[in-house]
């Protein structure tokens, strides 16, 4: 029973970390209609910048948590202006292909800068221990921190979209770009801002994940598939859907990995396929016109 509880908690922190990463993907799709293949690479960049900051520059974890996502967001602005703005308005295939090219470029660039090896980052000092759980099992404090960050992100995004003007503008631009433009909303700027925001979220996920994972050049590829699954299960363009999808995938990994490890590789895809067959637009997705 206690190991079940641990597996459940594991699911929760895996799920919420996935949520932070995948929701950016979802927002970008919702507003821009673009699936960013390079989203995982931006997450990886966040993790590497965290490593560079903490191990290379000796900065405290909290500082890199603040700075790294901002750096990545700025890079995203440059990418948008320099690359992506050429193909907005073209068919979907073009944006998929271009973001795939971006993925290759980012992956290799990171490899060139930081090399092929694995790097590790320690959790910040107050979070290095474990929390005692019933039954003698222990839950890492850092995982609890991840839970907290996930919930804060969730809350922050909800407030952003429902209460702030910027959030409403983004929703408007998502639903009807032409109308938004007629209303003098600078769609160009909204697009860039949204893309940068998606990148910021990905990198935030990267920094948060850094102490929990090995930082190596393959981590971006692993996470992009996971993010796709989250987004498809939850529903493309749906923000609560991203949460639902992330939690479902977290459960699949946490419980499935614990009780059915042989199927660990296949289960997420089976889950994704099942959801799509029954509800083609995801658990909470709406049909996009």
């Amino acid at each position: 029973m206690n190991s079940f509880l641990l597996a459940l908690l594991n699911s929760l922190d895996i799920g919420l970390l996935l949520f932070i990463i995948a929701v950016g993907l979802n927002i970008v799709f919702g507003v821009l209609g673009v699936i960013n293949f390079a989203h995982g690479a931006l997450y990886m960049l966040g993790a590497y910048l965290a490593y560079a900051g903490i191990v290379g520059l000796g900065l405290p974890f909290w500082v890199t948590l603040l700075l790294a996502p901002l750096v990545v967001a700025l890079l995203a602005v440059a990418i948008d202006r320099g690359m992506l703005h050429f193909i907005y308005g073209r068919e979907i295939a073009d944006s998929l292909l271009l973001t795939f090219a971006l993925l290759l470029i980012l992956n290799e660039s990171i490899r060139l800068i930081w090399g092929n090896g694995i790097h590790t980052v320690e959790p910040p000092w107050p979070l290095q221990g474990t929390i005692a759980m019933p039954g003698g099992l222990r839950y890492p404090s850092y995982s609890a921190f991840v839970l907290l960050v996930g919930l804060l992100t969730l809350l922050g995004l909800w407030l952003l979209f429902s209460r702030t003007r910027l959030g409403k503008i983004m929703r408007a631009a998502a639903q009807d770009p032409e109308m938004a433009q007629t209303l003098c909303i600078n769609t160009r700027r909204v697009i860039t801002a949204t893309f940068a925001f998606g990148a910021w979220l990905a990198a935030l996920g990267g920094v948060v994940a850094a102490p929990m994972r090995a930082i190596d050049p393959g981590m971006g590829d692993k996470i992009i598939i996971e993010s796709f699954i989250v987004v498809v299960i939850g529903g493309l363009g749906s923000f609560p859907g991203a949460l639902a999808g992330a939690l479902v995938l977290g459960l699949i990994h946490g419980l499935g990995g614990r009780y059915l490890p042989q199927l660990d590789l296949i289960l997420p895809f089976v889950g994704m396929a099942l959801v799509l067959l029954v509800r083609p637009h995801g658990l909470m997705g709406a049909r996009r016109v």
Partner: protein, 318 residues
């Protein structure tokens, strides 16, 4: 005049391909074989993408399945190669029918992601099912025996295998070409351009899409069956999404609007990879930059851009 020029060009290319083992260094036999196999793989993808307008990111599922089918048959039963290839073709077709039936209901982005999911599922099965597929180690240590049909050839000789691959790819390519340029192919192109109008004409677009997807899966399986003896191994990577991305890249490079575009793209891709990897390990970076430039500026691919330029020069416009 144009048809004569095209026919002559094709004959010239064929002639060069036949002469390749004699006029290039030994290593290029392997390059040539790889280009031919990948070209067939990419051309089968283009039936789905360039002609029917569906972007699939899971095409390697069929390629990988074909490879495993041939590898298992060669390892366990030592069947003649042609029989194995037939099974690979059928395996690819059946799998594509099953996956396609579930995927063609959906449009654009959902289709791309779902095909990606199924592709990775095939990869996962190949990776986990150690008892059948050898797990992550794959199927290896098999050799190619006879060709079949009573033809006696030392298939273990790379040059001989190259000619066999050339013959099969030419035949398969011709068959695929006939399909693409039949009335069926025309309907597919119409579906790509305007699905609603085709539906208004009374045609069931879902059936046509499924048919295209299924046929493409079969040819991809055939290509995979040719690949396994070439590599001497069938491994899960042959079904991974990074493998699915290769025909996509090759088709964009060559030009998705022309039948030979993917073949040209395969040649460019493999040659670039071989040359660039001799100089640097960062080949993926160059690939990414080239792909980005192609998508932004040369969306028609090398073949498309070249043909447009030739046409312009011929008609006298600047």
């Amino acid at each position: 005049m144009k048809r004569l020029a095209t026919a002559l060009t094709l004959l010239l290319i064929l002639g060069l391909l036949v002469a390749l083992p004699r006029i290039t260094p030994y290593f290029y036999i392997f390059i040539g074989t790889q280009i031919l196999i990948m070209g067939l793989f990419a051309a089968s993808f283009n039936l789905v993408f360039g002609y029917t307008g569906m972007l699939s990111f899971g095409h390697a599922a069929f390629f990988g399945t074909g490879a495993y089918a041939t590898a298992l048959l060669l390892q366990g039963l030592q069947w003649p190669l042609l029989a194995c290839l037939l099974v690979s073709f059928v395996a690819g077709t059946v799998l594509a029918l099953a996956i396609g039936a579930l995927c063609v209901r959906l449009d654009e982005v959902y289709f791309a992601m779902l095909t990606l999911a199924f592709g990775m599922m095939v990869y996962g099965v190949a990776h986990q099912w150690r008892s059948v597929t050898g797990g992550s180690d794959g199927i290896s240590g098999f050799s190619v025996g006879t060709l079949g049909l009573g033809i006696d050839l030392t298939l273990g000789n790379p040059a001989v295998y190259y000619y066999v691959v050339l013959a099969i790819v030419v035949v398969a390519g011709a068959a695929l070409y006939r399909i693409c340029n039949s009335s069926f192919g025309l309907v597919l192109q119409a579906i790509r351009q305007n699905p609603e109008r085709v539906a208004f004409c009374g045609l069931n677009i879902r059936t046509y899409r499924l048919a295209a997807f299924t046929i493409a899966g079969g040819f991809a399986g055939l290509a995979g069956g040719l690949m396994a003896p070439f590599l001497h191994v069938a491994s899960p990577d042959l079904a991974h999404w990074t493998m699915s991305a290769e025909p996509v890249l090759m088709t964009i490079l060559g030009g998705s609007g022309y039948f030979l575009g993917p073949f040209l793209g395969a040649a460019i891709f493999v040659l670039l990879e071989t040359w660039i990897t001799s100089i640097t390990q960062a080949w993926m970076l160059f690939l990414g930059i080239i792909l980005a430039l192609m998508v932004i500026f040369f969306r028609r691919g090398v073949l498309g851009t070249a043909l447009v330029a030739i046409r312009r020069r011929r008609s006298g416009t600047s």
